[in-house]
């Protein structure tokens, strides 16, 4: 039996274009990556394609005996934005979230907004795994002494809880999990919250996914994480869309974006407008990518934006550097006929931010719109498909009018966002 199309179903409808009178501007950005904290370091590092990969040394990421060390990107200690009393009860993911939120908050001038009209959606997936594993080891044979704070600080919801206890966010707060698409799904949920009128401003935050040694071993075993042969040359391990790719390389990251109703944002600096979003399930359970699902997400996003793929002039890929994922994503570019668009891959410079990736890379798209330049794709020496207009080793000037941003996650999650210059 062949695959069913929509029209085989007795109950079906093609997804409708929603009421687009509520256009959404991004008026604040905060970022953390291996390039540093803040937009200035991020932009400079992206355009210079700085090399930030090295052996992972954070406690709890030691490889099994005899195995090669893990390669990736680790953050510097976040700036102190929390009182010491709170900081000691907050995980690394939460402290970094507060740093990027604070930057985005000030950027957007949110002190002027009624707190009850501000929402927060945190995209996270198993965010405090490393610290929780260390705590479980420390108290393994003396559970009676487990500190009470451990009853809440390892919940993904603690990030939103901490953020809204420090800053006046009183509309709503929640966390959403969509694996490596969590950051993007947080943006889409935030778009919906603004469009529906639930709030006027909604912050989407991609949380740092603090992988443990256990997680890293599992990802390596699963065959999706690369770098095992690159301990001596960590800077060459991460190579999305290059023939020598052999898996994604982890990079700690976090980002916050302030989404605001366009009609209320006139007095604010705007980086760009979010005009279309697609978020679909393709029916996969594990890590396998699915081009048909990716295409469907893109077509939904384009339909919502009222555009065709021909009008997209810049694509920022999900592009992790796993062979199967990269090939499948190129199939998607072919199906959408994106040969005319410039394409780059932010993960080539900062690594795979996992649950933060979608938010961090959307920030990269918006900052590239503002700069009128596209950042290089590091290590893209021999593209797996020469028929596309890749941005390779050098940055290029490019006035972006309409960008398409992909993010995918384990569990058959495919998202696409269409972004317009302000």
């Amino acid at each position: 039996m062949g695959p069913k199309t929509f029209r085989n179903w007795r109950i079906c409808s093609l997804s409708k274009v929603p009421d687009d009178r509520v256009r959404i501007a991004v008026t604040g950005i905060g970022v953390a990556s291996g390039l540093g904290y803040g937009k200035a370091a991020f932009l400079q590092g992206l355009f210079e394609a700085l090399g930030v990969f090295s052996e992972l040394t954070r406690h709890g990421r030691e490889p099994a005996g005899g195995e090669s060390p893990f390669v990736g990107v680790e953050l510097d200690e976040p700036p102190n934005v929390l009182p010491a009393r709170l900081a000691r009860t907050a995980t690394l993911s939460s402290r970094v979230a507060m740093a990027v939120l604070q930057e985005a908050w000030q950027d957007a001038g949110l002190d002027q907004v009624d707190p009850e009209r501000i929402g927060l959606v945190v995209g996270s997936s198993n965010p405090m795994s490393r610290e929780q594993a260390l705590a479980a080891q420390r108290y393994a044979d003396k559970l009676e002494f487990v500190p009470p704070r451990h009853g809440h600080m390892f919940l993904s919801s603690d990030i939103a809880g901490l953020c809204s206890s420090v800053l006046p966010i009183r509309g709503f707060s929640q966390s959403v999990d969509a694996a490596s698409a969590s950051g993007s799904v947080a943006v889409i949920q935030a778009m919906d919250a603004v469009r529906s009128g639930r709030v006027d401003v909604c912050i989407a935050l991609g949380a740092l996914q603090d992988l443990s040694g256990y997680d890293l071993h599992a990802m390596r075993s699963l065959g999706v994480m690369g770098g095992a042969d690159h301990a001596a040359r960590p800077g060459e391990a991460c190579r999305p869309m290059d023939l020598a790719h052999n898996g994604f390389i982890y990079g700690e990251a976090s980002a916050a974006l302030v989404l605001m109703r366009k009609d209320l944002s006139m007095s604010h600096n705007s980086y760009g407008d979010l005009i279309g979003a697609g978020h679909i399930a393709d029916g996969s359970r594990g890590p396998e990518p699915n081009s048909e699902g990716q295409v469907r997400a893109a077509l939904n996003a384009l339909a919502q934006a009222g555009l065709t793929a021909k009008q997209i002039d810049f694509v920022n890929g999900h592009a992790t550097g796993t062979p199967q994922g990269d090939f499948e994503e190129c199939r998607t570019y072919h199906s959408l006929e994106l040969h005319h668009a410039r394409i780059n891959a932010t993960k080539s410079i900062v690594g795979h931010g996992m649950s933060a990736a979608g938010a961090l890379e959307l920030a990269a798209v918006l900052l590239q719109i503002k700069e009128g330049r596209l950042h290089p794709t590091r290590n893209l020496e021999n593209p797996i498909d020469e028929s596309f207009d890749w941005v390779k080793a050098e940055p290029v000037s490019h006035e972006i009018r309409h960008a398409l941003k992909f993010s995918f996650g384990f569990g058959g999650i495919n998202t696409a966002l269409v972004i317009a210059a302000p």
Partner: protein, 85 residues
């Protein structure tokens, strides 16, 4: 523990753990007659302090048996009594 516990040792450990839990008390004197509530320690932090102190003292006393003391001195007294069985 190598030697039998005494009150002073327990008091000192409790005060160290209060300072660890509420770093903002740095520079402010804390004495055995102070109560944690008056020092601004909240109820979750009070449990943190007591559990961390018990871990250092290798005492295993259910928290429900540690309600009632009005200050650090009384809490130390109670811990000492309970540790003796």
């Amino acid at each position: 523990m190598g030697s039998p516990l005494d009150n002073t040792e327990i008091i000192n450990i409790l005060i160290e753990e209060i300072r660890e839990t509420v770093p903002e008390l740095e520079g402010q004197p804390i004495s055995a007659s102070d109560s944690m509530v008056d020092l601004g320690v909240n109820s979750i932090e009070r449990s943190e302090v007591i559990l961390a102190a018990m871990e250092r003292l290798d005492l295993k006393i259910p928290m429900v048996q540690l309600h009632g003391p009005k200050n650090i001195q009384e809490l130390a007294d109670l811990l000492l009594v309970k540790s003796a069985g």
